[in-house]
C-alpha cells in the first residue's frame, strides 16, 4: 500500500512539471506586456525598460522558465505588484478558505449525488428515476453564479436566516457556529452542479453494477432487494466512483471562483478574479499553479482511496 502511494507520488513529478510549463508559458508568452500593464500607458520608455529588467523580461524564455521554476520549488512565487507583498504569503492566507469551501461542497455532493444515483438506478424507469433525472438536468443546467444570487436574495435578504457574504462576522463573529452559518449558502451554490454530475455518473455506474452476474447470484441466494442493491452493488460502485469523485474536485476548486465572488469569500477564486482584472500576472500564475497542483493531489488521493476500497484494484 505504501509502495503504491509512493509510486503514485513519483508519477506526479512529470505531471506537475507539465503544469508548471503550461502555467508559465500561458502567462509569459502570450501577447501583452506586463511592464506596460503595471506602469500604465503613460510610462516612459526608460522606466518600462528598467521594470522589464527587474522582472527578468529581457532574457530568453527558457532561461526565465528555469529561473522561475527554481524559485517556485523554493516557495518563491514572486511579488504581487498590486498587493505589494509576496504572492506566496497572499496564497497562504487564501488557500485555507477555498479548501474549506470546496471540501464541504465535495462532501455534500458525494453524499447526495451518490445516494441519488443509486436510488435512481435501483428504481430504474420508475418515478424515482424520472424525478431524479429531471432534477439532475436542472441542477447541471443552472448557472452557479445565478443560483448563488438567488440564494442570497431568498435566505439572506428576504428571510434573513443566513449571512449574505464573508466567512466570519465582522462584529462578534469568529466561533465555529458563525463560520458554519457563513458556509451554508456558498456550499449549496457550489455543490449543486457537482451533485448533479455525480448523481448522473453514479446512476450509470450503479446500473452497470446491477447488470453484473454477481447481482443475479445475490438475488438467486434469496437476499432481499435492499441487501442486493446496497450491500453488493453499492459497495462495488463506490470504489469505481472514486476517480470520478476526484475529477469533481476540479469543478469545485474552479467553481469557487463564482461562488467566492458572489459571497465575498476570502479565498483563491476571488483573488484570481481580482488579479486578472488588475493584470497582476504573477498572482494569477501563482494562484493557478497552486490550485492545479491541489487538484492533482486530490486526484491522487482518490486513486489511493479506490485502492483501499476495491480489492480488485489492490492487486495491480
Amino acid at each position: 500500500m505504501t509502495g503504491y502511494a509512493l509510486r503514485r507520488l513519483l508519477q506526479l513529478v512529470p505531471v506537475l512539471l507539465g503544469i508548471s510549463i503550461v502555467v508559465f508559458f500561458i502567462t509569459a508568452l502570450l501577447p501583452g506586456d506586463p511592464a506596460l500593464a503595471i506602469l500604465g500607458p503613460y510610462a516612459t520608455p526608460e522606466s518600462l525598460a528598467s521594470l522589464r529588467a527587474e522582472l527578468g523580461l529581457d532574457r530568453p524564455v527558457w532561461q526565465r522558465y528555469v529561473v522561475w521554476l527554481g524559485n517556485v520549488v523554493q516557495g518563491d512565487l514572486g511579488r504581487s505588484v498590486t498587493l505589494q507583498r509576496p504572492v506566496i504569503d497572499e496564497i497562504a492566507e487564501r488557500l485555507g478558505p477555498t479548501l474549506l469551501l470546496a471540501g464541504t461542497a465535495l462532501g455534500l455532493s458525494v453524499v447526495l449525488g451518490l445516494a441519488a444515483g443509486a436510488v435512481a438506478a435501483a428504481h430504474r424507469q420508475r418515478w424515482q428515476d424520472n424525478a431524479l433525472t429531471l432534477a439532475v438536468l436542472l441542477g447541471i443546467s443552472t448557472p452557479q453564479f445565478w443560483l448563488a444570487l438567488l440564494l442570497v436574495l431568498v435566505f439572506a435578504v428576504w428571510l434573513q436566516w443566513l449571512p449574505a457574504s464573508g466567512m466570519i462576522s465582522v462584529y462578534g463573529g469568529g466561533d465555529l457556529g458563525d463560520l458554519l452559518r457563513h458556509l451554508v449558502l456558498p456550499t449549496i451554490s457550489l455543490a449543486l452542479v457537482a451533485t448533479g454530475v455525480l448523481a448522473r455518473l453514479g446512476r450509470t455506474a450503479m446500473l452497470e453494477e446491477l447488470s453484473q452476474d454477481y447481482v443475479r447470484m445475490a438475488r438467486a441466494k434469496g437476499l432481499t432487494e435492499r441487501q442486493v442493491v446496497y450491500r453488493h452493488a453499492f459497495r462495488s460502485m463506490l470504489g469505481r466512483m472514486m476517480p470520478l469523485i476526484g475529477l469533481q474536485a476540479g469543478f469545485l476548486l474552479s467553481g469557487a471562483v463564482y461562488v467566492e465572488t458572489v459571497f465575498q469569500w476570502p479565498g483563491m477564486g476571488r483573488m484570481l478574479v481580482d488579479a486578472i482584472s488588475t493584470r497582476d500576472l504573477l498572482l494569477v500564475q501563482g494562484g493557478v499553479l497552486v490550485l492545479a497542483s491541489a487538484y492533482v493531489l486530490v486526484n491522487l488521493l482518490a486513486d489511493v482511496l479506490q485502492h483501499l476500497l476495491d480489492p480488485r484494484v489492490r492487486l495491480r
Binding site: 505531471v15 453564479f145 438467486a220 441466494k221 476548486l253 463564482y258 488579479a275 487538484y295 492533482v296 480489492p311
Partner: protein, 630 residues
C-alpha cells in the same frame, strides 16, 4: 438475445418527449435571438436615466428597464443572441481542432501521437475553468477572448475521445481496403475516417454546448467576458448584482434565460446521444419483473411424486414492439433426487428457463403464461417474498461463470455466510463457522484461510467450488446448475462434475443441469430434455436418447460430440443458424435446417407427443427417420 433492433432513430427521438421539449425550447430561443434585428424592440443600448428600473408591464418596456433605463426585454433578446453566438462558435472551434488533432494522432500514431497525448494529459490535469481563467488573464478580458479560452480548454476532450474512435476504426476492414486501393493519407483521413467519427463529434458538440454557454456566461459574469456597452446574458447578470435587493428581477431574469437555454440544450443533447449511441440505452440491471400473476386456471393437481413440474411455461422478451419467444410452452417433470439435463445450442432458451424457474427473468423479459409447481405450490402465484424464501434455500442456483458470479468486494466467508443468514436465524459467527464446514465439504484446501479471501484471489475452479458450497448451504431439494462447468478447463471440469455428482447423491438433491455439451451430460444425468428455439423438441431417459434419438435436431447434436477411441467418427456441425426468436417459422422451428423436412412440416405448429414410454418428441416424421447408428 440476438437481433434486438429498435425502430428508426427519429421515431425513437420523437418518443423521447423531454428531448423534443428541449429541442423546441432551443429552437424558439435561437429563432428569437436570430430575429433580434428585425423584431420591433427598442434599442438595447439607449440609456435614459429618467426611466431607470421601471417595473415590468409598462407599455413601452414590457419587462421594465435596467439601472441605466435600457429596455430589459430588448437587452435579454440581444444578450441571448450574444451568448448563443459565442457558445456555437466556441463549440465549433473546439470540435474542429479537437477532431483534427484526434484524427491525426489516431491515424499516424508514432511520435506525433505520443507528443499530443502527453500534452493533452497535462491540459486535462487542470481544472477546466482554471485553465480558461489563465488564458483570459493572458489575452485580456473581452467576449472574444473568453470564447477562445472556453474553446481551447475543450479541445483536449474532443481530441482524446476522437483519437480513441479512430484507433478503433483503423482495425476495421474498410480502412484496410482503402489503404490497399492506394488511397493517400488525406483521402483516408477525410473520406473514410472522418464520416465515421462525425456522429461522435456531433454528440460531443451537443452535450458540451450547454457547458460552453454556461462557462462563457460565467466569465462575463466575473467581468472577464463581454465589456460594456456590449452585453451577453452573463455580463447582464454580473452588472445587476448590486441591484439584487432593490430590483432583483434585473439580476434574476438573465439567469432564468441561461437556465432555459442550457436545460433545453442538455435535454436535446441527451436525446441525440441516446439516438446515436445506443450502447447507453437498454434496461440492464432493472429489477426482475414479477412473473405473470394471472388467475390460476383450473388444472389437474400436480403428480404427487414430482418435486418440480412446469406446465406450458412461456417467457417472452418484448422490446420496441417485437416479441421474442425465449421459452415457449415448456412442460416437464422432475422427481425428487432425479437429474434432468436441459441441452441445446446457445440461444435455445436454456438459461431463460433456469431464470424463469428462479423468478429472476430480467426485464424486458416476462413469464407470460404457464404454471410452475414446486412441491405442489405454484411459484407463479405466490408472492415475491415467498419466492425469495425458496431461492438459495430449497431451490439453489449454480451460475454459468464463476469468474463474475461472486461479488468482488466481499470476502468468500461473508458471501457464503449471508446465504445462510438469509434463510436461518443464526449469528454471524455461527454462519462463518458453517461456511468453513461447507468449504471443507467442497474440498477446498485450507478453508479457514479461504474464508477471508476475496474472489479474485481464487482460481476459477476454486470459485466454482465456492459457488457450489453456497448452493449447498441450506440443504436444497433442487439445484439448478446453468452451464456450471463450461467456463472451466477440462481437468477442473471433471473434478467439479465428480464433486457435484457425489454431493447430490449424498443429499438426495434433484438436479436440473443445463449444458450445451452432451458429453458432460452423459456423465451426470438420468434424463435429457433437448431444447430448440425456446421449445422442448425431445425428452427421454439418457440411455434411450443416446440409443434411439428421434428428433433430427437431437441427432444433429449427437453428431457434434467427439468420442474417445473413435477417431473415424465424422463430426458434422449443424448447418445454418437458429431462427430469430421474434420471427419464428410457422411450422417446425427446425425445418429450415432439417435434412428430413417435408412440406407438411412447415404448415403449422408441431405438438410435443409421446412417441414411446417416457419418450416425447416434437417431430412429424420421428418414426420414419432411418435407424440411428451411433
Amino acid at each position: 438475445m440476438a437481433n434486438l433492433q429498435g425502430p428508426p432513430g427519429w421515431r425513437r427521438f420523437r418518443a423521447n418527449r423531454l428531448a423534443l421539449f428541449g429541442l423546441g425550447l432551443v429552437a424558439s430561443l435561437t429563432t428569437l435571438a436570430a430575429a433580434a434585428p428585425i423584431l420591433p424592440l427598442p434599442d438595447p443600448f439607449t440609456t435614459d436615466l429618467t426611466q431607470r428600473l421601471l417595473p415590468a408591464g409598462s407599455a413601452v418596456h414590457l419587462l421594465g428597464t435596467d439601472q441605466l433605463g435600457r429596455d430589459l426585454l430588448s437587452r435579454l433578446v440581444w444578450g441571448t443572441r450574444a451568448s448563443l453566438a459565442v457558445g456555437f462558435f466556441a463549440v465549433l472551434i473546439a470540435a474542429f481542432f479537437g477532431t483534427l488533432l484526434g484524427l491525426v494522432a489516431g491515424w499516424f500514431r508514432g511520435w506525433a501521437d505520443t507528443l499530443l497525448m502527453r500534452g493533452i494529459d497535462v491540459l486535462l490535469a487542470f481544472p477546466y475553468l482554471l485553465l480558461a481563467l489563465a488564458i483570459v488573464a493572458a489575452l485580456g478580458p473581452g467576449l472574444r477572448n473568453a470564447m477562445i479560452a472556453i474553446a481551447v480548454v475543450n479541445i483536449p476532450l474532443f481530441a482524446r475521445t476522437l483519437r480513441g474512435e479512430v484507433l478503433g476504426l483503423t482495425e476495421r476492414a474498410f480502412v484496410d481496403a482503402a489503404r490497399l486501393a492506394g488511397a493517400g493519407h488525406g483521402r483516408i483521413l477525410f473520406r473514410e475516417l472522418l464520416p465515421n467519427v462525425l456522429p461522435t463529434a456531433v454528440v460531443m458538440m451537443s452535450t458540451s454546448l450547454g457547458w460552453m454557454i454556461l462557462e462563457t456566461a460565467g466569465l462575463s459574469f466575473l467581468g472577464l467576458g463581454a465589456q460594456p456597452p456590449a452585453a451577453d446574458l452573463g455580463s447582464m447578470l454580473g452588472s445587476a448584482r448590486e441591484l439584487l435587493t432593490t430590483a432583483p428581477w434585473v439580476a434574476l431574469l438573465p439567469g432564468i434565460v441561461i437556465l432555459l437555454l442550457t436545460a433545453g440544450i442538455n435535454l436535446a443533447g441527451d436525446g441525440l446521444r441516446d439516438l446515436l449511441d445506443p450502447r447507453l440505452r437498454g434496461e440492464a440491471g432493472a429489477w426482475p419483473a414479477s412473473p405473470a400473476a394471472g388467475p390460476a386456471e383450473a388444472s389437474q393437481s400436480p403428480p404427487s411424486e414430482a418435486l418440480l413440474r412446469a406446465e406450458g411455461l412461456s417467457t417472452r422478451f418484448v422490446r420496441d414492439g417485437a416479441s421474442y419467444r425465449a421459452v415457449d410452452d415448456l412442460t416437464f417433470d422432475l422427481a425428487a433426487g432425479e437429474r434432468l439435463a436441459v441441452v441445446g445450442e446457445s440461444g435455445s432458451g436454456k438459461t431463460v428457463t433456469a431464470l424463469s424457474l428462479l423468478g429472476l427473468v430480467p426485464p424486458p423479459g416476462r413469464i407470460v403464461s404457464g404454471r410452475l409447481f414446486f412441491r405442489g405450490e405454484d411459484l407463479l402465484q405466490v408472492s415475491e417474498a415467498r419466492r425469495r424464501e425458496l431461492r438459495g434455500n430449497a431451490i439453489a442456483y449454480i451460475p454459468q461463470d464463476p469468474m463474475t458470479a461472486l461479488s468482488p468486494v466481499l470476502t468468500v466467508g461473508a458471501q457464503i455466510g449471508e446465504t445462510l443468514r438469509a434463510h436461518r436465524a443464526i449469528s454471524r459467527k455461527e454462519a462463518l463457522w458453517r461456511a468453513h464446514e461447507l468449504l471443507a465439504r467442497v474440498r477446498i484446501p485450507q478453508p479457514s484461510e479461504r474464508l477471508a479471501a476475496y474472489p479474485h484471489e481464487l482460481s476459477g475452479g476454486m470459485r466454482q467450488r465456492v459457488l457450489i458450497a453456497m448452493a449447498l448451504a441450506n440443504d436444497p431439494a433442487l439445484i439448478i446448475a446453468d452451464e456450471a462447468t463450461t467456463a472451466l478447463d477440462t481437468t477442473v471440469q471433471s473434478e467439479i462434475l465428480l464433486l457435484l455428482d457425489s454431493l447430490c447423491a449424498e443429499r438426495g438433491a434433484a438436479l436440473l443441469f443445463i449444458s450445451h455439451d452432451l458429453g458432460v451430460v452423459a456423465r451426470l444425468c438420468d434424463r435429457v430434455l433437448v431444447m430448440y428455439a425456446g421449445q422442448a423438441v425431445e425428452e427421454a431417459g439418457l440411455d434411450r436418447l443416446l440409443a434411439r434419438p428421434q428428433h433430427p435436431y437431437t441427432r444433429a447434436l449427437l453428431d457434434c460430440v467427439p468420442e474417445l477411441g473413435r477417431p473415424d467418427k465424422t463430426l458434422r456441425p449443424i448447418g445454418g443458424q437458429p431462427p430469430p426468436l421474434d420471427d419464428l417459422p410457422a411450422g417446425c422451428h427446425f425445418a429450415p435446417r432439417c435434412t428430413y423436412v417435408r412440406p407438411a412440416c412447415r404448415d403449422r405448429g408441431i405438438a410435443l407427443r409421446t412417441a414411446a414410454e417416457r419418450h416425447r418428441v416434437r417431430c412429424l416424421r420421428a418414426e420414419e427417420l432411418p435407424a440411428w447408428r451411433p
